[in-house]
Each structure stands twice: as C-alpha cells, then as structure tokens.
C-alpha cells in the first residue's frame, strides 16, 4: 500500500500520461453509456404512456341511469386486477367532447350526426412492470371475453413494433457495448504495459532481492485501480462537455444519474486493476 503510493509519486509523468490516455479511451465507453442510458430513458417514457382503452357495449352505455351502478362495478372489477394501476371512465359525452377537440376546425362535420356514435370507455393504465407486449395482450384477452366489453384497443401495431425495436436495440447495444469494453480493456492493458516496461528494471531488481510476486504486483494493481478511478473522473468531465454540446441539439438529453456514475467509476477502477494484473502476468513471467 505504502509502496504503491510512493511509486505513484515517483512516476508522476508516466502516471499522468497513462491516466490521460486511459480517460480518452474510457470516454468512448462513457459516451456509449450516455447514449444507451438516454435511449432506455426514452423507451421507459414511452412505456409509461401506454394505456389500454376498453370500449363498452353500446346498450350498456346508452341507458345512463340504469347502468351507473354496473359501470361502477366494472370499474371496481378492473381496478381489483393485480396488473392494473389506474382506471379512468370516459362517458360517451366526454368521448365526443375529446373527439371534437381533436378535430379542431373540422368539428362541424359532427353536426350532421343525430346520435352520439362513440362508445363509453375505460382508460386503463397498467402497473409499469406489466407494460410489455405479453402482459398487455393477456390483459386485453381477459377483458375482451366480458360481455359488457365491445372492444379493447391498445395500439397492437405500435406495441409490437415497439417491442421489436427495443429488442433490436438491446442486441445492437449489447454487441456494441462488448466491443467498446473489450477495446477499453485492450487500451488500458497497453497503457499499463508502458508503465510496467518503464519500470521493468525496478521489477527485476525486486525479484533479485527476493520479493514475492504479491509484493511486486500489489502496488501495480493498486496503482492501476487508482489510475482507473482518476481516468474515469477525467472522462466524466470530458463526457459532460460532450453532453453540453449535444444538449444544444437534443434538449431532452439527460446526464447519467449518480448511481450510474458511481457504477461507471467502480467499473473503471476494476478495469484498471484487472488490466494491471493481466499485463504484469503477461509481460513479466511472474
């Protein structure tokens, strides 16, 4: 421990240089993480907005007074389901009102209608953990069989597309992530190799005087971890600059959260330590 910090002090120039090189390669990883994080945030937000419309049979919605009680019952029934988070009742009149508003200028076309053709409906929001294709379909299937239900609409096409887009993105992202991480490890291992080669003589001497491998490697591993951490912090600063530039073009962009930053720094610390250890093993026949 004491050894490694005094070594860091003794080799300021080499340490500084390798931290800079490492942080530049880590920047690629950081940008990748930022992009992934934002895309997933976007997916998550889209998922949040997913709602299921349950349209009621017209005979039920026509006779208002009689059916209020039953509407209440159905409302309660839907709410009692485990997957359901919220249920909002939209009456025929409300539906008409919304439709009018959506039509805007063209709303006069509705004046020719004698009766309100729109059905009453429940707007169901599922709990976040159930907002995926399989569960939404399960829910829709269960509700459609009820006799008070005319139709269930949950934007089938959109959900299916959304599911395949997120899946495709996930695969591409994993492959890209793997490439970025492997290349980071490669660059870090090479950077560490420079440090090790620059101290090859010292290591030989330590071996001559009977230092165990642990005595020799420990300072390098601790130093690698320390450099990894420093490089991570430096790359985060650079990432923030990149973020500020991109934010001008994409206002919805968000920076990595605190927990992700911590995880990232921790990963880099590990990468530094592992890189050092692997490099030592390879180049010094320890």
């Amino acid at each position: 421990m004491q050894e490694s910090f005094s070594t860091l002090g003794r080799h300021k120039a080499v340490t500084f240089l390798s931290v800079v090189i490492m942080s530049l390669s880590l920047l690629v990883l950081a940008v990748f993480l930022l992009a992934t994080d934002n895309v997933f945030t976007f997916f998550e937000r889209t998922r949040q907005e997913m709602t299921v419309f349950v349209y009621l049979s017209d005979d039920l919605s026509l006779s208002d007074e009689v059916s209020w009680a039953t509407v209440e019952d159905h409302h309660k029934w839907l709410l009692s389901m485990e997957m359901v988070e919220a249920v909002e009742f939209i009456s025929k009149d409300q539906a008409m009102e919304e439709f009018r508003n959506e039509l805007g200028e063209e709303r006069s076309v509705l004046d020719v209608l004698e009766a309100n053709p729109l059905p009453a409906s429940f707007r169901v929001t599922l709990k976040p953990e159930y907002r995926d294709k399989v569960n939404i379909e399960r829910f829709a299937g269960a509700v459609t069989t009820m006799d008070f239900v005319e139709e269930v609409n949950y934007g089938r096409d959109f959900i299916e597309q959304f599911a395949s887009v997120t899946r495709a993105f996930l695969y591409v992202d994993l492959v890209l992530g793997l490439i970025v991480i492997v290349s980071s490890i490669f660059i870090i291992a090479n950077t560490v190799r420079l440090t090790i080669l620059s101290r090859r003589k010292s290591i030989e001497i330590l071996k001559l005087v009977g230092a165990t491998n642990r005595f020799i490697t420990a300072p390098f591993v601790i130093e690698g971890a320390f450099q990894g951490g420093l490089a991570a912090l430096l790359s985060l600063v650079l990432l923030f600059l990149v973020f500020l530039v991109l934010k001008g073009m994409l206002p919805d962009l968000t920076f990595l959260g605190l927990s992700k930053i911590l995880l990232y720094v921790l990963t880099c610390v590990m990468l530094g330590a592992i890189g050092s250890f692997a490099s030592l093993r390879r180049h010094l026949k320890l």
């Binding site: 003589k201 005087v209 009977g210």
Partner: protein
Amino acid sequence: MTDPLEPRKIFGVYHLSKQYGDRMVLRDVNLQVGNGEFVFLVGPSGAGKSTLLRLIYMDESPNEGQVIVGSFVSTNMKRHDISYLRRKLGIIFQDFRLLEDRDVFENVAIAMRVTGETNYNIKRRVMQVLTQVGLYHKRYDRPVTLSGGEQQRVAIARAVVNSPEILLADEPTGNLDPEVTAEIIQLLFRINSAGTAVLMATHNHELVKNFGQRIVFLRDGTIEEDRRLGLAAFKKDRIGVFQHVGRTAGDGRDMREDR
C-alpha cells in the same frame, strides 16, 4: 567429497547443462562451494559465467543437472520458493542494478522490506551495513549522484543486509577503475572473512590470479580447471596481490592492514 576436513558444502551444481536454442552454454558443469569459501570463477566473455550464476540464483532452470543451494533444490522448486531462495543469497552485478528513483538508504532497505521486516529493525540494520561499506554519510543521496565504486558499495550493502550465507558477484568490478576495483575486492574479502561464501565471476584472470583463492576456470561452457592453492601459497600470494593491485592503482596503500 566427504572429506571431513573440507568445509561443509553450502551450494553446488551437479552435471549442469544449459542450452539456448541450439547453443550449448554450459556442459556437464560440476562445482561445489564450501561454507565460508571464496571462489573466483574465471573465463572469457561468453564462457557461461553469468549463465552459471543465473542458474544458481535460479533465474533460469537447467536443461540437465541440478542446483542445490542450502535446502533449495532446483529440480524441486516452485515459483514461490525462488523468492525465499533469493533472500538467502546476496547478488551483485557489473551494472550495480540500483533503483534510480530511491535514495541509498531505501536501496539497501528494500531487500529487508520484501521480507516483511519491521521498520525499526530495517533502520537499525541498514545504518549498520551502510557504515560498514562507508556510505553512512551518503544515505539520503540518489544513486545517480554517486561514483561507480560508491554505487557498487550500495549494491554490496543491499546484498549483505540480510546476512546471507552466499554472495554471488557477476563481474562486480567490470565497470570500475583499478583503484576502486581493489577497494571492492577488499570489501568482498572482508565480507567473506565474516563467514559469507563468495563466488565472484570475472573475465580478468590477471586481476585475481595472485590472491591465493580457489580459482575455477570456465571455458566454452565447461570447467577447465579447478585450482586450489595450499595455505602457504594462499597467505603469501594474497599479500602479494594486495600490493600488486595497490601498485596498479598507484596509491601505494598497504591493504594488509585492512584484512
């Protein structure tokens, strides 16, 4: 070999052969060194002196044969054991091999630090050894600021700080002028007289032929001659050579007094 009057063997190599690619560097070498003995290993460059030493401190392993150092046997060594073997040996080189980024004190102390010795003991022992090699006053200097002779004395201090039973020296005077060479050899004799066996490799037969010590001649990877002198010759010749080395250096000091 079992002569009870001979000193106990402290290390030895038996039927040792070493090959690099097609090149035979050592061929069936047998050499045993007794406790407290001083042996010069003489031969031209490329004769295999350094390789032999490397095999003894087990930086390399032999293709054939065996190296035995104390309780360590080369055919039976694990990687981990090598560190512990090195702690029983002192090793010095032509190019000193000091840590450029540490001061003299730390260069000597490192050999004790690797053994996990306490700071108190390290300080006490390092000061003692530095005093013995005459560098106590330079303990905070960096190796680069020292002369060649001083650097070699730092290396010697590092080699003996753990009180090894064996000191291996690979051309320790190769980079030094005659006067300093005499000082270093004298220092090695002093270490030897305290009980440490010394094996010193050199290409310079002229330098060592009159010290009266055992001389092993190595040529083309085989031992050509193992010359042991009688006690009488030993005393007479050693005195003669101290004068000889002293004269070469031109300082006229009589080194018998230091012995």
